[in-house]
Amino acid sequence: MNAAGIIFSNLNQDTISELTTDRTLAAIPFGCRYRFVDFCLSNLINVNISNICIVANYNYRSLIDHIGSGKDWDMARRTGGIQMIAPFQTSHTSDSKLNCTHLEALCNMKDYILEFKEDYVIIMDADQVVNIDLSAVVDSHEATGADITMVTTKIREDFSSRNRRIMAKTENGKITRILTSKTYTDRAPEMCINTFVMRTPYLVNLLNSAEDKNLTSLTDHLLNTYEHANYFTYCYDGYVASITDFQEYYQASMELTSSDEAKESLLWRKDAPIYTKVHNSAPTMYSADAVVRDSMIADDCVIEGTVINSILSRNVRVAKGAVVKNSVLYWGTTVGKGASLNCVVTDKDVYITDGVSLSGNKNLPIYIEKKRKV
């Protein structure tokens, strides 16, 4: 498709501090074998977009390790491929330009954007987990003649989040109101999932005026200009996991175990697979005593105990007599004999000693940090 993609790896990461102490938000593991960024990348790749930038600002080592040459996304290309955009200092810029907001980062990479040969640019944040056909979004953008098309989802009336979201009200797709809110409001019933489409020259103009007026926030810009501008939404009706804090992350993970809609929409689409780094791990071994129900499990696990309503990453061991319920275990987690976990998220290489019992609550899951022995 005639579009370039720009993925923001960590603009909202302060709100998920638990999972982002060692990694950028885009590198947060999700759905056993994926990281957030895999969904953005796969959405772009599945519509043949081959010029992709990932904007990072700090803590991006694990992201760089994950992406590598881009080979696992078929993006190790002579032309295009995946470009990591990290902040840098030059003799004439101050150290304050750390790609902290959308517009700041985009202004920093303006020279590069000027080289884009693609007519459209798709801008996305990594904290929105969705498997969406972006060509339909671009088609809609073209059909409406919008300046900016913002991808949204209809939200339920009981929606509430600890973080403010961009909400919109539309008439025939055209935005008549934009505001930010933490809860549902009938004044703006569509929630932005932080994916925007615009023509490349429009983006360049926007960046020029942002530099002139010293604008840094894309949200502020949208809020200030929508009344006189031609902004449209593309309201996506499929499953979206919009994750802005740890609780939302845990809930979205649990939905993968309980909701067929989540699995069908995110992971089981044959026409739109999600790609990720390949680890060449062996198939998972279920021993004679294993009891497993309603769980999603990656390769190279050894399960001798009980696993219910849980998400297990690669290379997790659940020893005999251990019981894992409503939990998310990252790769390398070991659950010792007779141990029991309920509503727990374990980071990489956590070791739960034999017989230890930990129980959180669905509204307050326990987080255990990387390499911790309990």
Binding site: P283, M285, D294, S295
Partner: protein
């Protein structure tokens, strides 16, 4: 311009595998699925890269489509290299003659020019039908130390099975004084694994003279190795210890899959220092549903299990619906086992559908009575 390599590998992957019957109707034996996410050829290719051998010629002949597509440019095994890497070597037409590969030795003979490009000191000959993890570098070290013309890797087999193999009779220092191909009365149980390291000049000399001999069947085991011995060349055996299985028959392919089960399987696929690489197909994680029961089984990415799976190995994308039973079986990619269907002691090839309430195979059958369902079979109760 090519760069000199110390040792290159020639992998014989043209075998028809006629004793695998339906499994090799449309597929060369090395491209047959194994162990949930592998093809047989993943083992020799991974062994090569794990042993520091980065130049591999893969000789193909029989039904090469699936095999060629699978190995591609060698990228999954890190064999897409600027210097060397993986080359597929099919039979070809020359201006004097054109020939199918007549035998293992003839296949290598027809590719002497490929070998010479890299001017290697040693050539490793491999076959594409064994499951094993082996560090060829250790074998090469021994070959260099002994100064042998040829080193033959050997494995201890049960004496009652020895007559199925090429048997190496050795002196105390490991040098071979006699090689018997499938002897009726084997003198010992050291079987050739079909893995040879030759010093290049000797290999080329013997291949050329073997080619001139019209009575020869152009086979390493039957002709080249005995000729070397008759001429008094120095041959050594390299005793290999570890898991090795020729998966050339339905029974042995099934058995070798079953060897991956149990608490302490003899073949370790999870060794991070010696990975077995395979081509990945971007499948989602496996999902286990509410009423599923899985015991002593290996399940791969993309599987969805809602029924019962016991003592079985399931490849990627297999769906076992509610009420279905899969027992003592090997299920290959993207097979669907419908509601209340039963699969016992079978090998189900890829893309097949076992329809609702169908019964395949016999519960408790032994390895000589494995039921095979060919690729893409769509079975319903009315077709049984």
């Amino acid at each position: 311009m090519y760069f000199k390599k110390e040792c290159i590998a020639m992998l014989l992957a043209g075998g028809q595998g006629s004793r695998l019957y339906d499994l090799t109707q449309q597929t060369a034996k090395p491209a047959v699925s194994y162990g949930g996410k592998y093809k047989i050829i993943d083992f020799p290719l991974s062994n090569c890269i794990n042993s520091g051998i980065d130049t591999v010629g893969v000789l193909t002949q029989y039904q090469p489509l699936a095999l060629n597509e699978y190995i591609g440019n060698g990228e999954p095994w890190d064999l897409d290299r600027m210097r060397g890497g993986l080359s597929v070597l099919p039979p070809y037409q020359g201006n004097k003659s054109s020939d199918w590969y007549k035998g293992t030795a003839n296949a290598i003979y027809q590719n002497i020019r490929f070998i010479k490009q890299y001017n290697p000191d040693y050539v490793l000959i491999l076959s594409g039908d064994h499951i094993y993890r082996m560090d060829y570098a250790k074998m090469l070290d021994q070959h260099k130390k002994t100064g042998a013309a040829c080193t033959v890797a050997t494995i201890t087999v049960p004496i009652e099975e020895a007559s199925r193999f090429g048997i190496c009779n050795t002196r105390e220092d490991g040098s071979i004084y006699e090689f018997e191909e499938k002897p009726k009365k084997p003198k010992n149980n050291q079987a050739s694994m079909g893995i040879y390291i030759f010093s290049t000049k000797i290999l080329i000399d013997y291949l050329e003279s073997d080619e001139k001999d019209e009575t020869s069947s152009n086979d390493f085991g039957k002709n080249i190795i005995p000729n070397l011995l008759n001429n008094g060349e120095k041959l050594f055996s390299f005793p290999f210890e570890g898991y090795w299985k020729d998966v050339g028959t339905i029974a042995s392919l099934w058995e070798s899959n079953m060897d991956l089960l149990g608490d302490h399987p003899p073949l370790n696929l999870s060794d991070r220092n010696f990975r077995i690489y395979s081509r990945n197909s971007a499948r989602p994680p496996q999902f286990v549903g509410t009423n599923a029961k899985i015991a002593n089984s290996r399940i791969s990415e993309g599987c969805r299990i809602y029924g019962n799976v016991e003592n079985s190995v399931l490849s990627g994308g297999v769906i076992v619906e509610e009420g279905a039973i899969v027992k003592d079986s090997v299920i290959m990619e993207d097979v669907i086992v419908r509601r209340d269907a039963k699969v016992y002691t079978s090998i189900i090839d890829s893309d097949s559908i076992i329809g609702e309430s169908c019964v395949v195979g016999k519960d408790g059958a032994d390895k000589n009575n494995i039921t095979i369902v060919a690729k893409g079979t769509n079975m319903s109760r009315s077709t049984m």
